[in-house]
Amino acid sequence: MATTKTFSQRIVHDYFPVVVVLLAVVLVWYGAAWGLNAQGAIERVLDEEAGYTQMELFEATMNMERPLMPAPHQVAADFYESLTEWPVDSPRNLIYHVIVTGQSTLLGFVMGTALGLLLSVLIVHSRTLDKALLPWIVASQTVPVLAIAPIVLVVLGSLGFSGTAPKAFIAMYLCFFPVTVAMVQGLRSPQKIETEMMHTYAASRWQSLWLLRLPAALPFLFPALRVGVAAGLVGAMVAELPTGAQAGLGARLLTGSYYGQTTQIWSALVMSALLGLALTGIVAGVERLVLRSRGGV
């Protein structure tokens, strides 16, 4: 981006391709809805003996009751309906589920980030922990963490925890790893000459951590936070599956799949995508603010 562009040129350069790709996605989606629903539409809606035109077939596939694949406008309608026709505290309103899932995600994210920061500081300062603990932290991620979700829920449930806490715990487990690994790398990123300068200033460990290592680690921290919050959302949603929870986007997906409510599944999916994008967007916004206030990029 060395050459300066006018605002409109930048819009065309950066956003036009994205818009085209998104339009193509919608078109493919319509095409898929047509193709996948055709069989069902012929069997259930249209009168095969009387014959039908291609136009009628197309219309039928677009507006089926329980389609194999709902068309985009059907999902949009269901989405809009759930937001406007039901009060926010009703389980039929998607906002209600977003709040439930968002709560456990955010709580888990905060706890996971705190745990990750603590672990990384300890690991950077202790050779023993670096050698003994870090390999296990890495190995813990090759374990499909979500497999543990049902157990954690049972364990915490029998200890008297229920509701948000167990789900947040699983979100935390998924969040802490990227933060730990990135921060270990980030806290070690100052060059030798810089750490030696702190040493000649007779700076304490705390001072060199606070004044040198932490600022140097910030560019490592934020990408990890973006990954962490997205992983936390997956954790929170999956944690809603095995408990038979009634609330939350994961539970909404599960009930939709029990009752074959395709459109409901799709609008819950769209909602979870929006929630994921919003959460990472917030983290990215904080990142920009922090880095700018530090005179960075």
């Binding site: 023993t128 364990v155 095995p242 994961g250």
Partner: protein
């Protein structure tokens, strides 16, 4: 040490043992040596953790629903070996392997294909990286609806989850070759395929292996979670959810051990492969 009453010397003994454990790990960690010493340190730490787990669970009579002792888990691994082997074949042998290979392969091919089209890159790359914020496991109920309860529906979820990370990484990797090297190839009048094979794909290898490693874990998670949405009567995810409902925790933990070992072995294999394929890269050489 059965029974809920612990002798007087129990807690002082535990503290003493903890000190011994801490000191031994500390001494081991301060040994200078090759990577094997590092691995031995980590292994020693793991052995101590399992030992303390066993002792505490037994001494404090922790109900096995909460936390079964490691010996019980190992016992259940032995007792239910054929069952768990069936689950392993169902989940890992079919859904994970096929889904992972298809997802990674498709991501790689699409990345190479759109590498030459700047317009598509500018349009597709932001959309593809956005998908990392979307909980893609959520498509599991739809996959079950389309592909049925058997393994193809799980493989489909895995394909979708692994496709985008591979696409994004490969594209980033293909950009990794330096300008100088590319201009050198250009001055040799090297064709596009030749530049791709001789320069850009090798330069992209660390990125590709990074995605392969991340995807190995993602694939396992995707397949297991997808089984929560309906599955045939075997599979690791099926075993975990049904046995957890029946409070048969040793077997649940057994299934988790199988999944964990699978994930770790897959990761280690990919690391070993990377060492052979990208031996020249600084990130490999230093490690």
């Amino acid at each position: 040490m059965t029974g809920s009453v612990t002798p007087v010397w129990f807690w002082p003994g535990m503290v003493l043992l903890a000190l011994v454990a801490g000191y031994s790990v500390y001494r081991m960690a301060s040994v200078q040596g090759s990577r094997w010493v590092g691995m031995a340190t980590a292994a020693l730490f793991g052995v101590w953790v399992v030992l303390f787990w066993e002792i505490l669970v037994r001494a404090l009579d922790v109900p096995r629903v909460l936390l079964p002792a490691p010996s019980l888990i190992i016992g259940s691994l032995g007792d239910h070996a054929p069952k768990l082997w069936g689950d392993f074949v169902q989940t890992v042998g079919k859904a994970v392997l096929i889904g992972w290979a298809m997802g990674c392969g498709a991501g790689f091919l699409v990345a190479v294909a759109i590498d030459r089209m700047p317009f598509l890159q500018r349009g597709l790359l932001p959309v593809a990286s956005l998908t990392s914020a979307i909980p893609l496991v959520g498509v599991a109920p739809i996959a079950v609806m389309w592909f049925g309860f058997e393994w193809p529906s799980k493989a489909a979820v895995v394909v979708l989850m692994t496709f985008f990370p591979m696409l994004v990484s490969t594209l980033a990797g293909l950009q990794a070759a330096g300008k100088l090297e590319r201009e050198l190839m250009y001055s040799y009048a090297a064709s596009y395929p030749r530049t791709l094979l001789a320069l850009r794909l090798p330069a992209a290898l660390p990125f590709i292996f990074g995605a392969l490693k991340v995807n190995a874990t993602l694939a396992l998670i995707g397949a297991i979670v997808a089984e929560f949405f309906g599955s045939p009567t075997s599979g690791l995810g099926f075993r975990i959810s049904t046995e957890a409902a029946r409070m048969n925790m040793p077997l649940v933990w057994g299934a988790i051990v199988v999944a964990a070992v699978t994930g770790s072995v897959a990761y280690a294999l990919l690391v070993a492969l990377e060492r052979r394929a990208a031996f020249w890269h600084p990130s490999v050489r230093e490690g």
